[in-house]
């Protein structure tokens, strides 16, 4: 494809769209598919046909609209009506609604803060384009950034733009993306690789999956731009096998991009060539750790190795390798199109842009949200999330999944950025956000995450392999009411060991949920131990006499 051809395609697509009066976008991302959105889509197509409106109304499967808990979700253009909890039987009414008034009982007020307060960059096309049609992506400006990069910019200019944007890695650690790119660009190697980390193993997190299901080309475009910037010829997307729909859409997207020569040899007729292959992971959390991920792609057992050397110098098969998260890559096309300065205006001084969170737990609106960095936790929980249901009292919000911590009420006005969250004992992480109310027992929450780390530990190093086991044992003693204060001391000592001596991030952060709950909710631990009671009534406390020695 040449530059002109791309522009022609855009024009043609836009013209085609003009011909329709309305567009009914039905979410066909996993969340809504689970509640039968595919049948809803069929029913609507049927209803459109019955009324002979095929020439005026287009029915489209689109990506996630965010409010996944209220699916199946539908978005009607150009009116901008959002329907929720639609069933196939509602199809005729919805089609009728195009002509008369919208179906009141299904309408989700689009001015509600859930939609209003969000700022969309990586999710900008999610819910409006068909993720299985490259033309849809191109029509909304897709692959323009790549074209610009390949025809107008040098690799170092690309890196400069990314550096200027202030983008930091969305995989958890928040490492400056521009810096990583320039390290790989400078590294010596006859071959270089670009890897997209789509392993996403945090319990409850589905940001990356949704991005891949809703707008896969954006990630591919980001990867090709990265490859050009660092001088790589080959790329891999490492996706877990539990994400069949993401895998299917990625396969389709790669094929389509190759067909249009946006991927492959001599992209846009330049000398630049880049290929992408998928690698399917078997769903081990630790394979998201970059060195374990590399081992896994190489066909070895997925266990981390000590760093340095970092993958940027010594990665896949020993060659310099750039590894970024899905969401990191998904930001790139927008940064190139609008400029690094534009991106840097969003967010806080040190955390730029937006972040996608999977909002879950005890809030009214659960789903996927994209918010500007620096927004407060209070705004997320009480405005976007709609507060705590059933008039219950907020207790804490957990960020960062098994590597993160619980943030109590006194920090609700904390801006969401990398540094602030770290300061209060949690982390930004990859985007899991679980809200807890008074019915959650914080010891039980800590135990849940420790159990996760214990079963996901790869077993290579002793502190994590055996330490997490004993942490879990000690926590179980506490939640069963048979622990002593000596057990609590031992638990704290063990947390210190596991945190400071484990080989990789999994072990190093596994104690965080315990440490942060001990920091803010020590009284709950003590209640289990001293009063033999669970203040939230969650833990099945046993009497000591019943416990076998």
């Amino acid at each position: 494809m040449t530059v002109d051809e791309l522009q022609q395609l855009v024009a043609k697509e836009q013209e085609a769209k003009q011909r329709y009066k309305s567009c009914i976008n039905v979410c066909v991302a996993t969340g809504c598919i689970m509640c039968d959105s595919e049948r809803v889509k069929e029913a609507i197509e049927e209803a459109v046909k019955e009324r002979g409106l095929e020439k005026e109304v287009i029915v489209k499967g689109v990506g996630c609209l965010g409010l996944c808990s209220a699916g199946p979700m539908i978005y009607v253009e150009p009116e901008g009506i959002i329907y929720h909890k639609v069933s196939p039987e509602d199809a005729p009414a919805i089609v009728q609604g195009l002509i008369s008034t919208p179906v009141e009982r299904l309408v989700c007020p689009s001015e509600m803060p859930f939609f209003k307060r969000q700022v969309k960059i990586v999710m900008e096309n999610s819910g409006t384009i068909d993720p299985e049609r490259i033309e849809d992506y191109i029509a909304v400006g897709g692959y323009q950034a790549l074209m610009k990069v390949l025809t107008e910019m040098s690799p170092s200019e690309v890196i400069e733009e990314v550096t200027k944007s202030g983008l930091r890695g969305r995989g958890g650690a928040g490492y400056p993306t521009g810096l990583k790119w320039s390290t790989v660009a400078k590294a010596n190697g006859d071959r270089k690789f670009v890897v997209c980390n789509a392993d996403e193993g945090d319990p409850g997190a589905y940001m990356d999956r949704t991005i891949l299901e809703s707008d896969p080309h954006r990630v591919i475009e980001g990867m090709v731009i990265a490859a050009y910037a660092v001088g790589a010829q080959q790329g891999y997307i490492y996706v877990r096998a539990e994400y069949p729909l993401a895998i299917k859409r990625l396969r389709t997207a790669i094929r389509q991009a190759e067909r249009l020569n946006l991927l492959g040899n001599n992209i846009f007729g330049t000398t630049f060539s880049f290929h992408i292959e998928l690698r399917i992971g078997a769903g081990a959390f630790v394979c998201g750790e970059e060195t374990a991920l590399i081992a896994s792609i190489e066909g070895k057992r997925g266990t981390p190795r000590p760093r340095p050397p970092y993958p940027a110098e010594y990665g896949l098969w020993g060659y310099p390798t750039l590894i970024n998260n899905v969401e990191t890559f998904a930001n790139i096309p927008s940064i190139i199109r609008n400029g690094g300065d534009w991106f840097a205006k969003i967010g806080t001084e040190k955390s730029k842009g937006t972040k996608v969170f999977a909002l879950a737990g005890r809030v009214v609106n659960t789903g996927l949200i994209e918010v500007p960095m620096g927004i407060t936790l209070r705004e997320i929980v009480f405005e976007i999330g709609g507060g705590i249901p059933e008039g219950r009292k907020f207790k804490a919000v957990q960020t960062g999944g098994p590597s993160g911590g619980c943030i109590p009420e006194q920090f609700l006005d904390l801006p969401v950025d990398y540094e602030s969250l770290t300061k209060v004992g949690s982390i930004m992480g990859s985007g899991g956000m679980i809200v807890m109310d008074e019915t959650s027992c914080m010891v039980d929450v800590a135990k849940f995450f420790v159990e996760f780390c214990m079963s996901e530990s790869c077993g290579k190093c002793i502190p994590c392999r055996v330490g997490t086991y004993h942490m879990h044992e000690l926590l179980s003693r506490i939640t069963s009411g048979i622990a002593t204060m000596r057990d609590l001391e031992l638990l704290e000592e063990l947390c210190d060991l596991v945190k400071n001596t484990s080989l990789c991030g999994l072990g190093q952060t596994a104690p965080n949920p315990v440490l942060s709950t001990l920091r803010y909710f020590r009284n709950e631990y003590e209640a289990h131990i001293l009063d033999k009671s669970c203040p939230s009534g969650v833990c099945p406390i046993r009497r000591l006499e019943e416990v076998p020695v």
């Binding site: 190795r305 530990s457 002793i462 004993h470 044992e473």
Partner: protein
């Protein structure tokens, strides 16, 4: 012309030492009479940095670093034996004892075991963590050797020696976390492995009583691993 050997100077436990570029902290420490405890590391095998016993403090580094894999740098200030490090090492050994079934008094390597020796050296007189008592097998299907998983500490020395030195790659690790286990071939009895040459290398690099020669009674199994540095020198590999 040969490239010049670069020399780095650093301090280890307050002592000024010099080292060749590319040497690890562990190697330089040992050359200077400082013995940093190790379990997974064995000279001649690739280092994996897994047991974490050799962790040292390096001034300015935000984390503890494994001496067996960390290369020296100019001006480094290394501490190998602070109270904090000794405490961590003790606790790591306690974790190992609690993990599987170590009944030293009836073990074939009693008195010749690296784990046991380290426990004594570091002052581990008891284990504060409850023992797990897992039910683990003993595989005695090999005609000359046996592997007792009750004594295995998962250091993977056997895996590496068989792969890197003998070239047979009989051993590997199966499962993950606390359920990890050393397996022969595709988890079959060792005696049925077609690739095992019965060279005995794994027996002698194993730091504990996990792999041993048959016919040895309690405390009779001594490990001899002089062959390893010799083999690596003969192959021209770096030691």
């Amino acid at each position: 012309m040969r490239a010049p050997v670069r020399i780095k100077t650093l301090t280890i436990d307050g002592k000024e030492v010099s080292a060749k570029e590319g040497e690890t902290i562990w190697q330089v420490a040992r050359e200077n009479g400082i013995d940093i405890p190790t379990l997974c590391y064995l000279e001649g095998l690739s280092p994996v940095g897994a047991c974490r016993l050799c962790l040292v403090e390096v001034k300015g580094a935000n984390r503890l670093l494994p001496a067996c894999v960390t290369q020296v740098e100019e001006g480094m200030e290394v501490t190998t034996n602070s109270e904090r490090l000794v405490n961590y090492r003790r606790m790591i050994l306690e974790l190992l004892f609690s993990e599987r079934n170590h009944t030293c008094s009836v073990c074939v390597v009693n008195g010749h075991c690296e784990l046991q020796r380290l426990a004594q050296r570091l002052g581990v007189t008891h284990v504060r963590f409850p023992y797990r008592y897992p039910d683990l097998p003993v595989d005695a299907s090999h005609e000359r050797f046996a592997i007792d998983h009750n004594r295995c500490i998962l250091c993977t020395r056997c895996v590496r020696v068989c792969d890197e030195i003998e070239g047979a790659h009989v051993w590997d690790v199966m499962g993950r976390g606390i359920k990890s286990q050393i397996i022969a071939d595709l988890n079959q009895p060792w005696g049925t492995s077609d690739v095992c040459t019965s060279c005995g290398k794994c027996v002698h690099v194993c730091p504990t009583g996990a792999i041993f020669e048959k016919g040895k009674a309690v405390a009779e199994m001594e490990k001899r691993r002089q062959f390893l540095p010799y083999l690596t020198i003969m192959r021209g590999g770096k030691q």
